[in-house]
């Protein structure tokens, strides 16, 4: 696959449109995902960490250069609803999978149970924190 490298070049003074941010962010995410996948396939933990960290930093740097509003209150609400739904579905699913694995004698199921419990505790703590604040993001 050919990538026009000049499109990826950003000088210090360049600002990005939202559309360009989506293209570049998508390219970085794709490249990071490919490197991460390769790292997992070859068992290279260093590559996994490096790919994940680099992609995260690059997307963050790109986002800082966007001259348009990236997230407004409508999108923030949509994000909240989506996050909530993911939590509602993913955590019980992971907990159930963990319990099934443990009951089948597989010790890695315990990790899933522990992670699910940690997520629920974190959710409860953050909910308590945010519900006490005077105003939220909007």
């Amino acid at each position: 696959m050919l990538i026009n490298l000049s499109m990826l070049y950003i000088s210090n003074t360049d600002m990005l449109s939202y559309r360009r941010f989506l293209i570049l962010g998508g390219a970085v995410t794709f490249a990071g995902g490919a490197a991460l996948g390769y790292g997992i396939a070859t068992g290279s933990q260093m590559l996994v960490l490096l790919a994940f960290g680099t992609a995260l930093v690059l997307v963050h740097l790109l986002r800082r250069r966007v001259d348009e509003l990236v997230v407004d209150e409508r999108l923030a609400r949509a994000g909240e609803a989506a996050s909530h739904r993911v939590l509602q579905l993913a955590v019980p699913a992971a907990a159930l999978a963990g319990v099934l694995l443990v009951s089948a004698g597989r010790s890695e199921g315990m990790l899933l149970v522990l992670v699910s419990t940690a997520f629920m505790l974190l959710y409860a703590a953050l909910f308590a924190w945010y519900s006490r604040r005077d105003s939220l993001a909007y």
């Binding site: 348009e68 509003l69 407004d72 209150e73 409508r74 999108l75 909007y138």
Partner: protein
């Protein structure tokens, strides 16, 4: 909920893009607002109403029964 945002916007000869920038949201949100498919925060509603120089209830209109709990 029905809104008169489009009517006021056209009266002031503003594009959706311009209105979005003036009140600090994305253009797509203005589209959703004009179609009555998004309930804005109190702050955004007041910002829009203030921009047009009218009370909030002149911009955002709730039908009878819509505000009942």
């Amino acid at each position: 909920m029905r809104t008169r945002i489009r009517e006021f916007r056209e009266r002031y000869r503003l594009t959706q893009e311009e209105l979005a920038e003036l009140v600090g949201v994305r253009r797509e949100t203005v589209v959703f607002l004009e179609k009555g498919r998004y309930n804005p925060s109190l702050r955004l509603a007041c910002r829009i109403a203030r921009l047009f120089g009218v009370p909030v209830e002149e911009v955002f209109i709730f039908e009878e029964g819509e505000l009942r709990g």
